[in-house]
Symmetry: C2
């Protein structure tokens, strides 16, 4: 696919990155905010699963590569001024064998599992996995 029409409309920041919101296309939940560079956008469109740029590891990050909680791409949108992306995805698990996974490395469904209310940050929702089980493999 020729993606130049997409890339030329994106305003990448000084680090060559653009923030990308992942929203579950089935439930509407906002699951995470991550960053993409040109290469991660190309890989996302090529593979049909979300690929981000890890700012901490400074490398491409195939979401779910270790945990199995991959994100199947359903649609990709650009905002009005070209400096933010919205990915509509299906948050899968077990490398795609299960259709309900967790986006967050903590095991929560969404990274936005902490709500500020009555002066406190309160955890909401349930953990779908125990991080110690999932990430101790290496």
């Amino acid at each position: 696919m020729n993606i130049e029409n997409f890339l030329k409309n994106i305003k990448f920041d000084n680090n060559g990155l653009v923030p990308a919101i992942a929203q579950d296309s089935t439930t509407g939940e906002v699951l995470m905010l991550a960053y993409m560079n040109k290469e991660s956008i190309e890989k996302t469109l090529e593979k049909g699963v979300a690929v981000y740029w890890s700012r901490s590891r400074k490398s491409l990050w195939i979401k779910g590569e270790v945990s199995g909680n991959i994100q199947k791409l359903e649609g990709i949108f650009l905002d009005c001024d070209g400096d933010a992306i919205l990915l509509k995805i299906k948050q899968l698990a077990d490398g795609g064998k299960s259709d309900f996974g967790a986006a967050c490395h903590t095991g929560y469904r969404t990274c936005f599992y902490r709500q500020f209310e009555n002066g406190n940050l309160v955890e909401k929702g349930e953990k779908l996995f125990n991080p110690d089980d999932v990430y101790k493999k290496k």
Copy 2:
């Protein structure tokens, strides 16, 4: 309200900003991505409507102050690593007199009105207002 418990958990970037996603709490639509600094978070919680920091104007930005498309705060969430905020809001219009407004300055309901498909950026949805009518007041 004591919001120090919230602010101390937020990792602001080098410019003192954190990206904030606005999601309509009724429809689930992701409407926009903007930025907040400490003061805009305080104002948002104090007023109960979304207040951002405009990076272009370098000033506080009471969303909808000119257009009337204000965002009533329903909930505020912090992500796992503290560097992104999710605002659940009701996107109102006419300064709150109408309960269905547009988030985008283009008149579209959401800033993410352009989808990349089949090699092209395709506009989706309908415009709720004409920007020439709304912003020519000043």
